[in-house]
C-alpha cells in the first residue's frame, strides 16, 4: 500500500494534525514503508483465530456505582491554557 500526498493530508486531518505541505512527501514515503512492513501479516491465514485484546483475556472490572472522584475543577483548570468562570475557553464555534 503506497500512500499519496493527498491521502496523507486526509489522514492528518482526520487525526487533527497540521502537517506542512513541504513535509507531505516525506510522510507519504515513511508511512508507505511502515504499511509495507505491516502488510507482511497478510501472508498468514488467520481465519477462525480469536482476536486477542488482553494478554490474559481478562475482562473489564466493574465497580460499585458510587461517587469515587471529588470535584477538583480549580486544580485541574489551573494548568489549562485559557479558562473563565470555570469554563474552558476556545475560539468562537457558533457565529
Amino acid at each position: 500500500m503506497s500512500l499519496t500526498n493527498e491521502e496523507v493530508k486526509k489522514i492528518a486531518h482526520l487525526a487533527r494534525l497540521r502537517v506542512n505541505e513541504d513535509d507531505l512527501p516525506t510522510y507519504a514515503g515513511n508511512l508507505s514503508g511502515i504499511l509495507a512492513l505491516v502488510e507482511q501479516m497478510n501472508n498468514v491465514d488467520t481465519q477462525g483465530i480469536v482476536p486477542m485484546a488482553h494478554p490474559q483475556d481478562a475482562s473489564q472490572r466493574l465497580r460499585d456505582d458510587v461517587v469515587s472522584e471529588n470535584d477538583q475543577r480549580e486544580r485541574f483548570q489551573a494548568i489549562a491554557p485559557q479558562t473563565e468562570a470555570g469554563l474552558y475557553l476556545v475560539p468562537k464555534v457558533i457565529e
Binding site: 496523507v8 492528518a12 486531518h13 487525526a15 487533527r16 512492513l37
Partner: protein, 484 residues
C-alpha cells in the same frame, strides 16, 4: 558513594554508616557535574530530594524504614509527579505540571525512596534510541556518540553512569529491556497488569507496563516489591498477591529448563552479540540448567502486528492532547479546528505524528478488519507460541537486541529500520509476559544484554535466574570509562 547498589545503600543507611542526606547531596552534585554530557535528566528536583532525604533519615532513626527508605531513585518522565513537570519528552507537555502522582510514584514515595528527578525519554515513549525527545537525545555513557536505546534511555544511561542507583521505566515494545541492554544495566518488564498504569501517560494501553531499572537483579527485586500490586484505579490491574521478590533470589536454579528460540539466533543477529549470549548460556549450563532449542515460529510477525496495535491505541490515547485542557496551545487559533490541528501539529514531533497517522489510517472506516483485527489475531498466534514453549521450558533466553548501541543519527531517517531494533523484545509485550535484560558481556567494547522471558507472574523466577548469573559473573559491575 555513587558506586553503591540499592542493597548496599539500604544496609549502610540502616547501620548508620552514612545518611540519606549525604548520599543525596553527593548524587545531586554528581548529576550537576556530569549530566551535561549525557542529557539523561529532564528535571532535577534537588530541593524536594533534600527534604525527602531528611525525612527519610528521621524515619530510619525512628526504626520505621522500609528497604527503600532514603534510597535515591529517578522516575521516567512519563510518570505523573504532583507539582513537578511531567513532560513525557514532548513539547506538548513541556508546560505540564502534573496535578497528581502516578500510583508507582506514590508507592515509591510511601516506601521512603528519594526522587532525584525525572529522566529523559523518547517522546511519548515512541522510539528505540531516545532521539525523538523534545529535550534532545540522551548519550550512551559507554560511547557518547551512540544512543542509549529507548524509550527509557534516560533511566538506563543515568544508572550506567552511576548518577542514580535505581529508576523506573516503561516497556511497551522493549523500552525497558532494550536500553538496559544497550547501557549495560539490569531492567525488568513485569507481567502486564502487575504494576499499575495509573498516572503513567498512556501510549498503547494493552501493551504498556512499568518496571524497574538498577545495576543488579537484587536491586530490581527491591524496587519491584515496592512498585507492584493491585490498583483499583487501573482497570487492567490484576488482583493477585505480590510475593517478596527478594525472598526467592537464592532459590536453586539447578535443573531449570532454559529454552533458546532458534528464531532469536538467526540472520540479523550481530556475531559478537551471538558469541556473548552463547557464553552466558554456558554459565547457566555450568549451574546445572538444562538447555533446549525451541521454536517461536511467529516471531517474524511480531513487529508487523505491533506496528498496527501500538499506533492504533496511540492514535486513540493521544487524542486527549487537544490544546484545550492542558498542555501546548498554538498562538492565535482562527477557529476550533485550527486550534486542534496546529496545537497538535506544533506540539508533537514527527515520530509521534507518524504513529498517530498510521493508527488513524488503520482504524478508519473500511480498514479495521484488515489491520487492527488481523493484528489482534496475529497477537493470539504469537501468544500461543509462548504457551506451547512454556509447556516444555521454565524460562526463555536469547539476545535482547540484534545489535549493540548504534550511532546517534544512524537510523533516524528510516523508521522501519529503527522499528526492527525491537525485534526480540516486542513479542513479550504482545503476549503480556514478563521479561528482563541483564548485562552479559561486551562486543567491541559495547554492552550486550541477555534477555530472559518468563511465564505469567514469574518475575520471581526471572529475578532468581538473573541474580544467580550475577553471582557467577561480574558484567553488571563494569563501569563505563570516565564514569567510575
Amino acid at each position: 558513594m555513587h558506586n553503591k547498589t540499592i542493597a548496599e545503600i539500604s544496609a549502610g543507611l540502616k547501620a548508620g554508616k552514612f545518611s540519606s542526606e549525604e548520599l543525596t547531596q553527593d548524587l545531586l552534585a554528581r548529576i550537576d557535574r556530569i549530566d551535561g554530557k549525557l542529557n539523561s535528566f529532564v528535571t532535577v528536583t534537588a530541593e524536594q530530594a533534600q527534604a525527602a532525604a531528611r525525612a527519610a533519615d528521621e524515619r530510619i532513626k525512628a526504626n520505621k524504614a522500609t528497604p527503600l527508605t532514603g534510597v535515591p531513585i529517578a522516575h521516567k518522565d512519563i510518570f505523573c509527579t504532583e507539582g513537578v513537570k511531567t513532560s513525557c519528552g514532548s513539547k506538548m507537555l513541556d508546560n505540564f505540571i502534573a496535578p497528581y502522582n502516578a500510583t508507582v510514584v506514590e508507592r515509591m514515595h510511601a516506601a521512603g525512596a528519594v526522587m532525584l528527578g525525572k529522566t529523559n525519554m523518547d517522546e511519548f515513549a515512541m522510539g528505540s534510541s531516545n532521539e525523538t525527545s523534545f529535550y534532545g537525545a540522551v548519550k550512551n555513557p559507554w560511547d557518547l556518540e551512540r544512543v542509549p536505546g529507548g524509550s527509557s534511555g534516560g533511566s538506563a544511561a543515568a544508572i550506567a553512569a552511576r548518577l542514580v542507583p535505581g529508576a523506573t521505566g516503561t516497556d511497551t515494545g522493549g523500552s525497558i529491556r532494550q536500553p538496559a541492554a544497550l547501557c549495560g544495566v539490569t531492567g525488568l518488564k513485569p507481567t502486564y497488569g502487575r504494576v499499575s498504569r495509573y498516572g503513567m501517560i498512556a501510549f498503547a494501553s494493552s501493551l504498556d507496563q512499568g518496571g524497574p531499572f538498577a545495576r543488579t537483579a537484587e536491586d530490581c527485586a527491591l524496587l519491584l516489591n515496592a512498585m507492584s500490586g493491585f490498583d483499583g484505579r487501573d482497570s487492567t490491574s490484576i488482583d493477585k498477591p505480590v510475593p517478596d521478590y527478594t525472598a526467592t533470589l537464592k532459590d536453586s536454579i539447578a535443573g531449570l529448563k532454559i529454552g533458546l528460540p532458534k528464531e532469536y539466533f538467526s540472520e540479523g543477529l550481530d556475531a559478537g552479540m551471538a558469541q556473548a549470549v552463547e557464553q552466558a548460556i554456558d554459565v547457566y549450563k555450568s549451574m546445572g540448567c538444562e538447555i533446549k532449542e525451541i521454536s517461536l515460529p511467529n516471531t517474524h510477525l511480531s513487529v508487523p502486528a505491533y506496528y498496527v496495535v501500538a499506533p492504533a491505541e496511540c492514535s486513540s490515547n493521544l487524542s486527549r492532547f487537544d490544546g484545550v485542557r492542558y498542555g501546548y496551545r498554538c498562538e492565535n487559533p482562527s477557529d476550533l479546528t485550527d486550534l486542534y490541528e496546529r496545537s497538535r501539529g506544533e506540539g508533537f514531533g514527527s515520530e509521534v505524528k507518524r504513529r498517530i497517522m498510521i493508527g488513524t489510517y488503520a482504524l478508519s472506516a473500511g480498514y479495521y478488519d484488515a489491520y487492527y483485527l488481523k493484528a489482534q489475531q496475529i497477537r493470539r498466534l504469537i501468544s500461543d507460541d509462548f504457551t506451547q514453549a512454556f509447556a516444555d521450558v521454565d524460562v526463555i533466553m536469547g539476545p535482547t537486541s540484534p545489535t549493540t548501541a548504534f550511532k546517534l543519527g544512524e537510523k533516524t531517517d528510516d523508521p522501519v529500520s529503527m522499528y526492527l531494533s525491537d525485534i526480540y523484545t516486542i513479542a513479550a509485550n504482545l503476549a503480556g509476559l514478563p521479561g528482563m535484560s541483564i548485562p552479559a558481556g561486551f562486543s567491541n567494547g559495547l554492552p550486550v544484554g541477555l534477555q530472559l522471558i518468563g511465564n505469567y507472574f514469574d518475575e520471581g523466577g526471572l529475578l532468581a535466574a538473573a541474580h544467580q548469573y550475577q553471582q557467577q559473573t561480574d558484567w553488571h559491575t563494569h563501569t563505563p570509562q570516565g564514569f567510575a
